[in-house]
Symmetry: C2
């Protein structure tokens, strides 16, 4: 079969079998009913909490063919859903993947998409338990991620609703990095390779699964993953928990290379709202609990605090203590642009 054969040469079931074969060990073959039946089936651990989420990436809204190839799309789609489980402190177990493909898709595109799914599944230690694949007018991948929290461990699930006043706010990694990677791709990749890491962080991000589990075990009760931009995601918590949030721009950790290549102002605005999809975790809890994560050498930085006034609102202060209003407070997936 030639690389550039159109995928319409395959039937649905041939294609599914081909994809299952390519996914190899990433397919959950040893569960009670593996992929290939009407539904997949597995036996839950006793005393466990099932945690489930669905997230969709679609061409044009979540990726553009000129900045991301199908390998990256498969990778990111898995990461995006797994990241929602990480934000709850859950261990991802199985994925169900629904794909729609337009008629221009080639065999090579599908191979790359599958490879990206397999690679990201391996990194996140999760197996594919089923899926659906159909032709449509657009390319889309929707990943349902199912995970569990063993109740025997008695640590709480992390919620958006459980922040209290006078707690501290921490962020993992470097927010705005994904947006910085995209900005660099759009400007044209450098020959010196200085931007390689940033581009990889944009195209093949890794969800903070281990951090989520460790934070929940340490006693953090409130978390969210960074998908819409720092301000908007903090607003979700402020509203759900009915508390106010205050952060300091000077405390936000910025990626060194992104700082060098794009400048402080740009990377800060990307972090606050222009970017999004960093898949870092925002953790909110008692000072002592958050500091214990530091002693475990987990990659978290304190960026602000919760307050009892201005409930539902996020206020940003710059180094002089003045309120700062970023050009964009977040990313709306329904926005017309």
């Amino acid at each position: 079969m030639k690389d550039q054969d159109s995928f319409s040469n395959f039937g649905e079931f041939t294609l599914i079998n081909k994809i299952i074969e390519q996914l190899g060990s990433h397919v959950a073959k040893d569960i009670f009913v593996p992929p290939g039946d009407d539904a997949a089936a597995w036996i839950n651990s006793k005393n466990s909490l099932t945690v489930a989420t669905v997230d969709t990436l679609t061409e044009g809204t979540h990726w553009r063919p000129d900045t991301m190839n199908f390998n990256d799309v498969g990778w990111r789609a898995v990461t995006a859903s797994v990241s929602d489980l990480a934000a709850m402190g859950a261990t991802p177990t199985y994925l169900l993947i629904a794909i729609t493909l337009d008629s221009n898709i080639t065999d090579q595109n599908i191979t790359m998409l599958t490879e990206g799914i397999a690679q990201s599944s391996a990194v996140h230690n999760v197996k594919i338990a089923g899926g659906d694949i159909i032709r449509a007018h657009t390319n889309m991948i929707s990943v349902t991620a199912i995970g569990e929290i063993l109740q025997d461990n008695r640590y709480p699930i992390m919620r958006r609703t459980t922040a209290e006043p006078d707690e501290l706010i921490a962020i993992s990694g470097y927010p705005g990095t994904s947006g910085a990677g995209l900005a660099i791709i759009e400007e044209g990749q450098r020959e010196d390779g200085l931007d390689t890491e940033l581009i990889t962080l944009h195209r093949q991000p890794v969800a903070r699964v281990q951090l989520g589990i460790k934070a929940a075990k340490a006693g953090i009760k409130c978390a969210i993953d960074l998908s819409d931009g720092l301000v908007q995601d903090l607003e979700h918590i402020a509203k759900a928990s009915n508390i106010g949030i205050e952060i300091d721009t000077e405390k936000i950790p910025l990626h060194n290379t992104a700082y060098t290549l794009l400048g402080r102002e740009k990377i800060l605005d990307l972090a606050l709202g222009e970017g999004g999809e960093d898949f870092e975790l925002i953790l909110i809890g008692k000072a002592q609990t958050l500091r214990s994560l530091h002693t475990m050498e987990l990659p978290v930085t304190l960026i602000g605090r919760t307050v009892s006034h201005h409930p539902g609102q996020v206020k940003i202060h710059d180094s002089s203590g003045k309120e700062y209003e970023p050009p964009q407070r977040g990313w709306d997936h329904l926005r017309n642009d």
Copy 2:
């Protein structure tokens, strides 16, 4: 708000809240973590088997705006996924729903879609545990259905792989009815109302959840739901179980009104492969077990048998005993038409 406002006037989170409000009691509010967080969470019954599936409907491939409105689309999307669980003998519990909408969608379209989801969820006694909604170039709805089989009951899950030679094959309801409903819509609805039931069966089908559970409890080990057309779905079983299948056209139960309006040949060809998406169940088992379903007044009809020769193949015989080859053996969701 006017009925025909474009949905782009709402932000993502306003729209999600609006939809959650409209879904009312169909939202799983009393689970461990209800919709609105990064992921939904529920505690599994002890000793239960989790069963999960995903199915996507997309405009152009699965429905056309001129034959189905958004209420019907929401209804069918839920039915399609729940039907996969019914084919395993599982009880549906929760749904995760991913929706993409193009920029022409109105507020009224979304209200209808939500209403259809709510109505079908009520009929199938399943709750919505989460979802995702984004703008895209096409309208699409992808439903992940999660169900369970209580292992305490010790009845087997029904598979595609478990048919044996010398068993009988039964079908529920009237295959081809959904295709008949579509054909009638395309011809133009009648004034005498004779076709109303068929049109409803096409637009708002109900999955055979209770039949699936009762069949599994009675000892049926092999089943599939009718989604791609009778011949193709039987071929899935023939291949998965490595047995041959023989069915008799004269035994296939045909819907009386469809017969009257379209004629025997047309409705038979719709049942065998031109139609699809009937969401009836094909059940395969010992003669005695299948007859016990009859005595329970369950709506099943015997249409054929399994054989040890021609494994993987489905042969169709007409009333004279001759082999019959229908114009189409099933529906391929990747086909270019």
